[in-house]
């Protein structure tokens, strides 16, 4: 007869309920699908990173020494395509979003679990087609596929690469659709809209962008493919077509796409900062409205990628003004995160280190975006390393830092294990130093006039390029450490309890790792989010 003090040898949770590879490949459990995605996006991250490494090695010397220019074109194209569509866009939503959206709202799963699994298979199929294009020789149009270069003048695997991206787009659409329907329809009793964790609001905003923008990418790539394959000319001036129309349509998607990439990062930050400041998120309503504003206004600024492409000057002025406007809600969020920390009880655990890194680096990235939104400055720095530095500050300094912060924050819940804190803090520091050393010199290079997408450059730029490459190797080390110690901790890490960070939120009330149905008892919500005051009371009384 078991005594009261005896605990079961192995608790039933989503990881061990269902054995064998088939139970994973045919799972409908959002948590397992999140893990499938985590494995996929990690592989694509390191593949895209490999291309970055090769590019930085090439750029150590002013002449094209390691690769010829045509092959260098393939490197930056594949780096961009893989990082944008197969890492940044899916990363946080399909891993942390899939895992935690149902848990944070008190649901058993997403609204459409089968669509969720289908979405992963579509993603992998798209990835396969793109990797096929890569192996067969790659594409060299840049990730932007501009016509008429892509449709008329190149012999590389443009159609295959575009097809891979086209296919992966449907995966994005299904994920966004699933999230919107889930957040509307599956909230636990008492979970009103303004009691939702900010992670949910921000992913909702992201999902709106996913469903409304991605179809335009699909139709643009379709038209480009038709032009290329059938030798007809929608964007071909010889037939009366306009190459700038391609750019309008491409950027109508691709600008909102950058908000698809950064909003989920902001979602993670909105969870980490309150927990490690022991304070509710400051200005909750404003942060929620700001997220929606970023999503909406983000659709109206795409022309700022085309200032020198031949837009009318009146249209350029309109886009410039709107681009300034879209910075406002982002700034509101940065102020509110900072105000959350003010007079809080700050702890410097790894997730918080990444979050604070995000705050600084995202701010620099965002502010340099305003430089670029000014027509006069843009004429000089467009298509230079200034732009590259700007978007890497946001994508890497922002999104990737937030992704790492989120992975560390939620790791105990996902795996039931704690990662080694000392090593993790060191890695965060290495990432921060490596990142800045890689990309800050690129602002200077761009301002001095070094163009982007060039394998060779004037000799006077070499010093800054060498610094940047040195930084990139440090950054690479910084990324490999977490890969190693996180995998190690899954098997050998200290066991985590349900709530190692003493955070608020429904996801922390259940076991680590969670049971298959997320909650033993369906939760009912009766108070606001981030209620650390109540938590303190309950801990004192309990």
């Amino acid at each position: 007869m078991a005594t009261v003090a005896e605990t079961p040898a192995v608790e039933r949770n989503y990881l061990n309920q269902g054995e064998g590879i088939l139970s994973w490949l045919f799972t409908l459990d959002h948590k397992r699908i999140a893990i499938l995605y985590l494995v996929s996006v990690t592989m694509f991250f390191f593949l895209g990173g490999l291309f970055a490494l090769l590019m930085r090695l090439e750029l150590l010397a002013p002449r094209a020494w390691l690769f010829n220019p045509e092959d260098y074109n393939k490197l930056f194209s594949m780096h961009g395509i893989i990082m944008v569509w197969f890492f940044l866009i899916p990363s946080i939503p399909t891993t942390l979003g899939n895992f935690f959206i149902p848990m944070m709202i008190g649901a058993k799963d997403l609204a459409f679990p089968k669509l969720n699994l289908l979405s992963w298979y579509i993603f992998m199929f798209g990835g396969l087609v793109t990797v096929f294009a890569l192996i067969r020789g790659g594409v060299d149009t840049g990730w932007t596929f501009y016509t008429p270069l892509s449709t008329t003048y190149l012999n590389t695997y443009v159609t295959a690469a575009a097809a891979g991206v086209f296919i992966a787009g449907f995966s994005s659409i299904l994920t966004g659709l699933n999230f919107i329907a889930t957040i509307h329809g599956m909230r636990a009793p008492g979970m009103t809209w303004f009691r939702l964790p900010m992670f949910i609001w921000t992913h909702y905003a992201t999902s709106l962008v996913l469903v409304l923008a991605t179809p335009v990418l699909a139709v643009t790539l379709l038209m480009m493919g038709v032009e290329r394959v059938f030798h007809v000319g929608i964007f071909d001036p010889a037939l009366g077509g306009d190459p700038v129309l391609f750019q309008h349509m491409f950027w109508f998607y691709s600008h909102p796409a950058v908000y698809i990439m950064v909003l989920p990062g902001m979602a993670v930050i909105s969870e980490i900062i309150p927990t490690f400041s022991r304070k509710p998120l400051f200005g909750y309503d404003f942060v929620a409205y700001a997220s929606m504003a970023i999503a909406a206004i983000g659709f109206l600024v795409w022309g700022h990628h085309m200032f020198v492409a031949g837009l009318s000057v009146y249209s350029a002025m309109a886009f410039s003004f709107l681009s300034y406007l879209v910075a406002v809600p982002s700034a509101i969020k940065v102020f509110n995160w900072s105000a959350t920390m003010y007079k809080g009880a700050i702890s410097w655990d790894t997730p918080m280190l990444y979050a604070i890194g995000f705050l600084g680096l995202f701010t620099i990235g965002g502010m340099t975006g305003l430089f670029l939104a000014a027509l006069g400055i843009d004429v000089h720095v467009t298509d230079t390393y200034f732009v590259i530095a700007h978007f890497h500050y946001i994508m890497v300094g922002g999104t990737v830092m937030a992704f790492l912060g989120g992975i560390h924050y939620f790791w105990p819940k996902i795996t039931g294990r704690l990662y080694p804190e000392g090593l993790a803090r060191l890695s965060a520091l290495i990432v921060f130093v490596g990142f800045n050393l890689t990309f800050f010199p690129q602002f200077v290079l761009g301002y001095l006039g070094m163009p982007r997408r060039y394998a060779a450059y004037p000799a006077e730029f070499q010093m800054l390029n060498v610094l940047s490459t040195a930084g990139a190797s440090i950054l690479g080390v910084g990324y490999i450490f977490p890969l190693c110690y996180l995998l190690w901790s899954w098997k050998y890490g200290k066991k985590a309890g349900p709530n190692p960070w003493r955070a608020t939120g429904l996801e922390w009330t259940t076991a680590s790792p969670p049971p298959k149905d997320n909650f033993e008892v369906s939760p009912v919500v009766d108070g606001p989010p981030y209620d650390f005051g109540r938590m303190r009371e309950e801990l004192h009384l309990g």
């Binding site: 659709l177 889930t182 379709l222 038209m223 929608i234 009366g240 129309l245």
Partner: protein, 219 residues
């Protein structure tokens, strides 16, 4: 005969009305994505129509209004039969649901038959863009743009029609297997939404391709 509740309520939902409303919302979100998908093509058409009005109107005058109008009527009839099908499902009348689904499929097939006949006639007249294209008139190359957009947009629409036929067929099969009742027929409603949406797209395609140049049409 109503299906037992447990068989049709998926485990992530608490109750049937939640499942139904969430599924309907999901379908409408999907329809919004389709609006943006076709929207890109309508955008391209608008830009070029604005820049080459004479060529586009000449191209439109060249279209076969009899076939186009018949197709429009066929799709509107099919939307009517689809709506009646949904109504039959709502009152639990499985036999009429079968009938109306089948009628809708037939009308859809009529549409597709006429469409491909039209494509063949265009081919015979050298209206297919590419090396074989020929169009008499001053703005031949700009007219080629009109026909290019015509083939892409109506082609994408026809692809959606094929998918719709497949969806209707699967609804007929499921109905015959007894899956639907007055209490549970959400897939039929969703199929209806899809079908009506494809009809709405055609209504706009008819207007921009067939009607615009009709006043110059030569019989």
């Amino acid at each position: 005969m109503a299906e037992p509740l447990a068989l049709i309520l998926r485990e992530q939902f608490h109750e049937p009305s939640q499942q139904r409303e969430t599924a309907t919302l999901g379908m409408w979100i999907f329809i919004s994505t389709e609006i943006m998908l076709f929207g890109g093509l309508f955008l391209a058409f608008t830009v070029y129509r604005m820049y080459y009005p004479r060529a586009f109107i000449a191209g439109s005058a060249d279209m076969n209004i009899a076939l186009g109008a018949t197709n429009t009527a066929a799709l509107i009839c099919s939307s009517f039969t689809m709506a009646l099908g949904v109504h039959s499902a709502e009152i639990g009348s499985r036999r009429f649901l079968n009938l109306f689904l089948a009628l809708t499929m037939v009308l859809g097939a009529v549409f597709l038959g006429i469409k491909f006949t039209e494509y063949y006639l265009h081919y015979l007249d050298h209206r297919v863009p590419g090396p074989g294209f020929f169009f008499a008139g001053a703005d031949a190359s700009k007219a080629e743009m009109f026909f290019l957009l015509y083939f892409i947009m109506t082609g994408l629409h026809a692809l959606h029609m094929f998918v719709g036929e497949g969806i209707l067929f699967s609804m007929i099969l499921r109905n015959r297997a007894g899956s639907f009742s007055a209490e549970y027929h959400t897939p039929v409603v969703l199929a209806g939404l899809y079908w009506h949406f494809v009809d709405v797209i055609w209504v706009f395609l008819f207007a921009i391709f067939y009607i615009e140049g009709l006043h110059l049409h030569k019989w």
